[in-house]
Amino acid sequence: MNEIIETVTAICMVVITISIALLLYRVVKGPTNPDRAVALDAIGINLMGMAGLVAIMIATTRLNDVILLIGILLFIGTIALAKYLEKGVIIDRDD
């Protein structure tokens, strides 16, 4: 059972690495800035998956906070990028 988990985790790690590499190609090559923003968002989600796989690999529960933290920071960063791309200002001044 343990060997199955280790093998599957290693395979998933490789697949997520390939996914991040393809997304990095989109970040570098992306014709427009929204392409890059969406690709960075997806890279962050892949990082969350990667942190979960690392937590399985080293058999710890301490990384759960890290996964939640990456998700929160990713959400806030993507909102900030989207507001900048749409309005050119991140925090409205209302005056």
Partner: protein
């Protein structure tokens, strides 16, 4: 420029910022024997406040949270110094920490450490510094 309608963003912010405040308090209190602590808890609280600022704009949140973050920074530093100086009252060296066990009505027996008060100072200072930086940059023109 046409006025945009951020209904989805504003509704989600109400829910998500409360989850973020809860998570930051959890991180703050978990810091003694789990990952977390004053620094990351303060950063999470600042992230929640920044999310509210991004969704609702500066004037609305200034009305909802009338906090002067420079004063908050000073209060945090004073708390951190006071926990260090307080050890002089018991004839101990500077920044000595101690702990004891207390019985609470609901939670039962809990360990209360004076390091939590120092962490509270770090927490308030981190919120103050982060919000001062962000709001100073955003109100620049």
């Amino acid at each position: 420029m046409v006025k945009t309608n951020d209904l989805i963003l504003k509704t989600m912010t109400v829910l998500i910022s409360f989850i973020l405040f809860g998570f930051s308090v959890n991180l703050f209190f978990a810091g003694h024997n789990a990952p977390g602590g004053g620094f990351i808890g303060g950063l999470m609280t600042a992230a929640a406040i920044i999310l509210m600022y991004m969704a609702y704009g500066e004037r609305a949140i200034n009305k909802v949270l009338p906090i002067n973050y420079r004063t908050l920074l000073t209060i945090g530093l004073l708390i951190a110094i006071a926990t260090g100086v307080g050890s002089f009252l018991f004839g101990e060296p500077f920044l000595s920490q101690t702990y004891d066990y207390f019985n609470f009505p609901i939670f039962g027996k809990m360990e209360l450490a004076t390091a939590l008060l120092f962490d509270l100072g770090v927490y308030l200072t981190v919120i103050g510094v982060t919000m001062t930086i962000v709001l100073t940059i955003s109100s620049d023109r």
